[in-house]
Symmetry: C2
Subunit: 323 residues, 2 copies
């Protein structure tokens, strides 16, 4: 059974029945309304050793990443993260490891842009053969204002924050990395400590958004499916770090890292052209326009000469853990 | 490092900093106030194959138990569960298995006493060497009314719902069980499908409560520590099912299953004597008085002749996954 097949089954079978469930399974987060004036965003993500991070990742970086990938989901809905629970399953518990892990959890919370602290309010520890961390994040959003995947409209521009492909390049370089590489190597650093964006900047400006976790094209396809639209993407406009260009052995690898690499945790959003400037200012980070939403379905990738690139991209789930 | 040492470190290091975090790590659930009028309860629990359930447990029963143990935490705070997220890590995904697992998730939600449905609003699936399920549950509670572990007062009675020890006896019998034992054998059934109690009955009546997961005495000790009180427990008054008495080879085993067996997921509560009758009526299930809270610290276990039993019971964490 493929992962997306299971998710489809779950989405159908687990359709929301409560009046105060505004949105159930299928977006970056659920939307819950515990009171008429309050909406919350809830998301959960599991990280497993040797699958979501290399086995020799430091405890600090594991803690950081486990928190960051969840905060990123809250941001992609336009929310402000408030609370986390942490479930840790591990073969053993070493005090030094646990201490550095907690440092990493807290560092990711502190790195989130915004005025309010984020509290870790619960969790669970248990023994398992493999190191595995499940984080659940809960955030606030102004009622009715959360940015869903389904809001993209023909004519909207497609934009991404920061740069794409760094994490994929960092992973490729991992086995040969220097000691303390996550402190010194920008690509390695992006792999283990994703940059966090302030999702509140999206409210009232973006029409749809998600965080780039599976790979830019695969994630964009989620927006297209949910919004029932298509897109043209200018592959050569995808924002890349200088370090990425230096690390790529050839153009094909460079494009592959950027377009399908995954693990970037940048925000991919759609918005009317007039909102791109205000979004860039509110986000306070680079925001690059990389394409346009079309009424015609399908995802077309063009190079700088307007040539259509072979669409050997996944059109559905980007990364299937059970494929 | 022992599990309770880690939890102590976490409790200290992760002290709440937000005004809207009413209670952080250390009780059955956290208490969060997303708006001045609203309080939510949040808890998370991980179940791992061969550790929290035998490897040949059915998919239905695994799903049921993973949900039930979390709903039980919400109930123990006096809350009404509303939403769940489910994180599933498994070596493979078989459609039949997944279908029965979802049946089990939904059956546990449906079995929770109360008028409102419980929605599963998110989750995550990933491949892992071991089957592992992490559930996060979110519930409602009237503002300021949640039942904490710290409210027990000298003179309060100690009471437990249902019967104790069935799950431990079921686990002892597991290797020799009949096919479909979870349908037909009451002890096996209690092991995999814990009875769920309506936590709202505790509000305004119980002074402290928790769910019996590690074992009755170990869990009661959590209340004593949090409330800074002691207790006298009449071991022979602990409620036992007829099936349990029939299954126990001797009195010592019977007492051990009841007092330290764990996995019961019954509610252990303290309350003034005058509240026991109203509590029994509101809960709609058997509620048995088994002891009394004392100003003198310590946990004293007495048999029917008033003899003090050797206190070879854990005084702190009952079940340490890393011991």
């Amino acid at each position: 059974m493929r992962e997306f097949e299971l998710i489809d089954v779950l989405r159908t079978r687990l359709a929301a029945r409560r009046d105060d469930t505004r949105l159930g399974i299928g977006d970056d987060t659920a939307i819950l309304a515990p009171s008429p004036q309050t909406e919350l965003l809830v998301t959960t993500d599991t990280l497993i050793i040797d699958r979501h991070f290399p086995g020799d990742t430091t405890a600090f970086d594991i803690g950081y990443k486990a928190v960051a990938v969840n905060l990123s989901d809250i941001a992609a809905m336009g929310g402000a993260p408030a609370w986390l629970t942490i479930s840790l399953a591990a073969p053993a518990l070493e005090p030094d490891w646990a201490d550095a892990f907690v440092d990493g959890l807290q560092a990711a919370c502190a790195a989130y842009p915004g005025p309010d602290p984020i509290d870790i309010v619960g969790g669970d520890t248990t023994r398992a053969d493999q190191l595995m961390i499940t984080v659940t994040a809960i955030g606030h959003v102004a009622s009715g204002r959360a940015i869903r995947r389904s809001g993209a409209r023909a004519g909207d521009l497609i934009a991404v924050t920061g740069t794409l492909g760094d994490a994929a390049a960092g992973l490729a370089r991992w086995p040969q990395r220097e000691p303390c590489a996550s402190e010194t190597d920008p690509l390695i650093r992006r792999l283990v400590r994703p940059d966090l964006r302030d999702g509140r900047a999206l409210i009232g400006r973006a029409s749809a958004a998600l965080d780039v976790s599976d790979g830019f094209l695969a994630d964009l396809a989620h927006i297209l499916t949910a919004s029932n639209v298509g897109a043209r993407v200018a592959v050569d406009d995808l924002p890349g770090a200088h370090a990425l260009a230096a690390a790529a052995p050839d153009l094909a690898t460079f494009r592959r890292w950027q377009a399908t690499g995954g693990d970037d945790y940048e925000l991919c959003l759609t918005a009317p052209a007039a909102q791109i400037g205000p979004l860039r200012e509110a986000l306070g980070c680079p925001l690059t326009v990389v394409g346009e939403i079309t009424a015609e379905l399908g995802l077309m990738c063009l190079d700088r000469h307007g040539q259509c690139l072979a669409a050997d991209m996944p059109t559905r789930a980007g990364w299937d853990h059970f494929a």
